[in-house]
């Protein structure tokens, strides 16, 4: 049962009639359930007392089959008393705005969460770098603009689902479509006090996540439903509508950006306010708010930065991470502001970016001094973009009376502000024929990361990749942990762990071979699934003869089976300072420059996508086709988000487009030409220097599209999505 209201008191719930249907095993309501939430526990797993968004779970019917459950759900009677709804963050922060949560100040929360009691503000992150006053004094030109982005969704092809069973001995077995099976395990402990060792989470191949499946929701419902049904196995599968509106969505944001610069285009100060839309519950929105603050200026060096990033409750669905983790929203606002500044300076927007692009030796908003390894080479990305997009032709070229060819550009950076103690582990075992098995906690969500991990192992052990078998499924009891499969961290962390496991296996293989070959370990080498004497490569042993120990002709055996193990933990990360934001919040920044070219119809305000270009600093491309696939997919998502995808709310806060027939991701027939190019500035810590690549292709395309359309209509675009009707409204307002 899902709430039909966005904000209402629940006067009464009656489950009597539903319980009388044969085959119904129980009806779960919110009564007596503990509060949940990742950084602040503000969310009842099932609504209790009141509902805070349209689509919120109000009751769960557990039955022998889905048809019976659906029938019985129609008989659960709920009486609501509607309350005034809060629809935007800017409305929510006004004095006297209706409160989504009355108890913001008393919820149990982690360190670093800063709610403001008596308001709709769930958390506040501050950046205080340099002095705005000094920056202003040194400036000659200033701009200020406000931006608006509504909530939308990931719309992964596979909807969320989970199954749970509570065994008589208290063991809880969960199978879930998740990017974070290890987090599910920890949260079951944190929310319900279940011993960690008694929770086993299985995750098969996941049908797309995009961050949406990093939040934990359906697992909690499945567990509670199983408990209600006496521990029987219970399965919950979200229909598309629930996957869109009940499950965590893609955040909305409002922003105000003020920039100060010298007449020759040197950025001197930035004063920024981000209002991240937390919707009904703070869950991951607190972290999204923090990430927005940390990379608040886009990839530019600015001496004086003041940013207030607020996590604000509204009566909308609450957000999960979304590919880019608040960076695409931050960049839409900031990179639009950069174009507005370029206009005011009468300067080429690409040149303005080139002049201010962050370079080694300069500092970030969190006052971390970057070097070539930690920040890559943005100027080179800009140079290449300039050529690929044929910038010399000009941003706007008239084709005929009605049509324009228009280009927009934008830059990006992304650090992954994951917890400083995040870890990843990997195990390598062998088969008796000398082939290897790779077991890593990275969930395969369609990114192909496990292929890259196998490549890393093949490269390290110098063996044929076809002789490496990759375990796809995760089982938190037997798979070493990978914190979460998010944040473009699979190759860095999972890769380093796999590399360490391969090196560990190599050491063990050599140790056995050294006895048999009567050679020092350091005189041995490995290649083609063999350990051999470096000087006489024909003297050696195949893995199949040593991976399970070596047996001498008389039967004596040594060594035993080889198990390679490896792990990785990020080095020297810090929490950020509460007052200034100072710290090292993540390992490295991936940077890039992007552009779009559109054909714009000046009569109809419609536009066609002609091509989209990404130049990313990949550090090192480990698998060209996979990398291109990731970037292209991200670009396509970014264009759909910018051009069309958004939830549409009515006056009561109900979502008017909760189906794919009305909520429309990009269709294959709408794809454009994607041009992808890579700069390779190694991230020294990463396997072979590879930087994160899963999200970057999305991050600044919405801004690039906004910049192109602004150039076409000679008005400043400040909101998403950029539909022809939005553009028409701007033109009408101008008259």
């Amino acid at each position: 049962m899902l709430s039909k209201f966005a904000h209402a008191e629940i006067d009464s719930i009656s489950t009597d009639r539903a319980m009388k249907i044969p085959g119904v095993r129980g009806v779960l309501t919110g009564e007596g359930l503990p509060l949940t939430g990742e950084e602040m526990k503000d969310r009842p797993p099932v609504a209790w007392g009141k509902v805070r968004y349209h689509g919120e779970v109000t009751a769960v019917v557990i039955a022998d089959d889905p048809v019976t459950a659906a029938k019985a759900a129609n008989l659960v009677e709920i009486n609501y008393k509607p309350l005034p709804v809060v629809q935007t963050p800017s409305e929510a922060v006004k004095e006297n705005a209706p409160l989504v949560h009355e108890n913001t100040g008393i919820y149990e929360k982690d360190e670093g969460v800063n709610p403001i009691p008596g308001t709709n503000i769930a958390s506040h992150t501050k950046i205080r770098k340099g002095s705005i006053q000094r920056g202003r004094e040194e400036s000659e030109v200033t701009i200020e603009e406000s931006f608006f982005i509504p909530p939308s969704d990931h719309a992964a092809m596979e909807t969320r689902s989970a199954a749970a069973e509570v065994k008589p001995d208290g063991k809880v077995i969960i199978t879930t479509s998740s990017q974070a099976p290890f987090m599910v395990k920890k949260l079951m402990n944190s929310y319900f006090g279940i011993e960690l060792g008694k929770v086993v989470v299985h995750t098969p191949l996941v049908g797309g996540g995009y961050g949406g499946k990093a939040s934990v929701q359906q697992e909690i419902l499945a567990y509670l439903a199983s408990m209600k049904a006496g521990g029987r196995p219970v399965k919950i599968v979200y229909p598309r509508e629930a996957d869109l509106i009940t499950a965590p969505c893609h955040m909305g944001m409002e922003a105000t950006i003020k920039l100060w610069a010298t007449r020759d285009g040197k950025l001197k100060a930035a004063e920024i306010q981000y209002l991240v839309e937390a919707g009904a519950y703070s869950d991951k929105a607190i972290h999204l708010t923090r990430a927005a603050a940390i990379d608040c200026t886009g990839p530019y060096f600015i001496e004086n930065v003041w940013c207030d990033s607020y996590c604000v409750y509204t009566n909308h669905p609450y957000p999960a991470p979304y590919r880019g983790f608040s960076h695409s929203e931050v960049h839409f606002c900031f990179e639009r502001a950069m174009d507005i500044l370029a206009g005011k300076l009468n300067m080429d927007p690409l040149e303005l970016r080139f002049r201010n692009a962050i370079r080694p030796g300069q500092t970030t908003p969190t006052q971390y001094k970057v070097n070539r390894s930690t920040v890559g080479d943005l100027p080179e990305c800009i140079r290449r973009l300039k050529k690929l997009i044929r910038w010399e032709e000009g941003a706007v070229v008239r084709i005929n009376e009605r049509q324009l060819k228009v280009k927009g550009i934008s830059c990006l950076w992304k650090n992954s502000t994951i917890p400083p103690d995040s870890t990843s582990g990997a195990i390598i075992t062998f088969n008796e024929d000398g082939t290897a098995n790779l077991i890593s906690g990275v969930v395969e969500i369609g990114t192909g990361t496990k292929t890259v991990l196998a490549q890393i192992v093949a490269e390290t052990l110098k063996m044929d990749i076809n002789n490496i078998f990759v375990r796809m499924e995760i089982d938190t009891q037997t798979t070493p942990e990978h914190w979460k499969t998010v944040a473009s961290r699979g190759t860095l962390m999972g890769g380093r762990a796999a590399m360490a496991a391969a090196e560990d296996a190599a050491r063990q293989l050599k140790a056995i071979a050294s006895c048999v070959l009567r050679a020092r370990i350091e005189d041995l080498d490995i290649a083609d699934s063999r350990v051999f004497i470096r000087e006489e490569p024909d003297k050696g042993l195949h893995f199949k003869d040593i991976a399970y120990g070596y047996t001498f002709p008389n039967g004596n055996s040594i060594g035993g089976q080889i198990i390679g193990r490896g792990n990785y933990i990020l080095r020297n990360l810090t929490h950020i300072d509460k007052e200034t934001g100072k710290g090292k919040p993540g390992p490295e920044w991936a940077v890039g420059a992007q552009g779009v070219e559109i054909q714009f119809d000046c009569r109809d305000y419609t536009y066609k996508l002609i091509r989209a270009i990404s130049v990313l600093d990949a550090g090192k491309v480990l698998n060209w086709k996979a990398a291109r696939g990731q970037v292209t997919g991200a670009m396509s998502m970014g264009l759909a988000f910018a051009g069309r995808e958004a939830f549409i709310f009515d006056k009561e806060g109900r979502i008017m487009n909760p189906q794919l027939r009305t909520y429309r991701p990009l269709h294959f027939s709408e794809k454009t030409e994607y041009i992808v190019d890579f700069v390779e500035t190694p991230h020294v810590d990463a396997p072979f220097g590879a930087r994160g690549l899963g999200e970057q292709g999305l991050i600044s395309l919405p801004a690039a599209l906004g910049n192109a359309i602004s150039a076409a209509i000679e008005l400043q675009v400040t909101s998403l999505p950029l539909t022809p009707e939005t553009i028409w409204r701007m033109k009408e307002a101008e008259r």
Binding site: P66, V67, A70, K71, N74, P239, E241, R603, D604, G643, R644, I648, M656, N657, R661, T662, R664, H667, S669, E670, P721, T723, P724, E725, W728, R729
Partner: protein, 280 residues
């Protein structure tokens, strides 16, 4: 998931179908005729539709007609849209059909199903509204033929137990100059913001609309504006927009005001394509 059980019948004649409907209705089974079934699936899973018996009309030969007989084209209600496109007897219907849903869905969606849909669009009716087609229906009193505008005026006019059998269109309309355009909220997928179908008959342009109002319609008063001689193109379009005879919808595809803006431009395109450009 369809959360209820229902019986399935596939009669092989019109009389059998009508009789089945009568019996099942008497038995309180709320019978429905069906052909493609896509809407039964999509509405049932949302609890917006209920029946205890469906009567499949695809086994009735008259409902599957797709042929020219002399100067008349017969198209059965049970024909999948994709099949009508392949046969391509009526070019305006072909292009209109090709913009409905996607090909996979159109292999199931039928002509009758689209015309009798619960949705507001029902674009497949547009070419028939423009071509003075006849509609054959069947009910207790047997087969009846009547002009399309008596069958379809804002709503479908069907008696209880009566069902749509086929459309009959005169050949001269099949060869008439035509134009079709579908404007969506953004790019190439989604419901129509506005669909306009146009056909020329005796030098006059006829137009019919979907997505503009809560039902598809043809408007003679708008046609008068569009066919007025010695009027600049823009003026014609503006007058037609001012003469829209029905309520213009505002929904998640677009506002009423924006629809008017788009329609004005689309009508200029229609008139240009129909070669009746007035003085600029």
């Amino acid at each position: 998931m369809i959360p209820f059980d229902f019986e399935y019948y596939k009669p092989s004649s019109i009389s059998e179908a009508v009789e089945l409907h009568r019996q099942l209705d008497e038995a309180g089974k709320k019978p429905v005729y069906y052909s493609g079934g896509t809407e039964i699936i999509t509405l049932s899973r949302l609890n917006l539709f209920y029946t205890e018996a469906v009567i499949d009309i695809k086994g009735i030969p008259e409902c599957c007609l797709c042929e020219k007989e002399g100067t008349r084209l017969h198209l059965g209600a049970g024909l999948p849209l994709a099949e009508i496109e392949r046969a391509d007897y009526f070019p305006l219907l072909t292009v209109t059909s090709k913009d409905i849903a996607d090909n996979t869905a159109r292999m199931k969606i039928t002509l009758g199903g689209n015309v009798c849909s619960e949705l507001i669009y029902r674009e497949a009716i547009l070419p028939f509204l423009l071509s003075d087609s006849q509609v054959v229906t069947a009910g207790a009193s047997g087969e009846v033929s009547r002009p399309v505008n008596e069958f379809f005026n804002k709503e479908i006019v069907l008696e209880k137990g009566e069902f749509l059998v086929r459309f009959i269109t005169e050949e001269r309309f099949l060869r008439a100059p035509y134009f079709h355009t579908k404007r969506r909220k953004q790019w190439n997928t989604g419901y129509p913001l506005i669909t306009v179908a146009a056909l020329q008959e005796e030098g006059k342009t006829r137009t019919a609309y979907s997505g503009l109002s809560p039902f598809p319609f043809r408007s003679r008063i708008m046609e008068e504006s569009l066919n007025r001689d010695n009027t600049p193109l823009r003026r014609k379009a503006e007058q037609a927009v001012n003469n829209i005879p029905h309520e213009i919808i505002s929904d998640s595809e677009g506002s009423a005001e924006y629809r008017k803006f788009v329609l004005k431009n689309v009508l200029m395109d229609v008139m240009t394509r129909m070669g009746r450009r007035g003085p600029e």
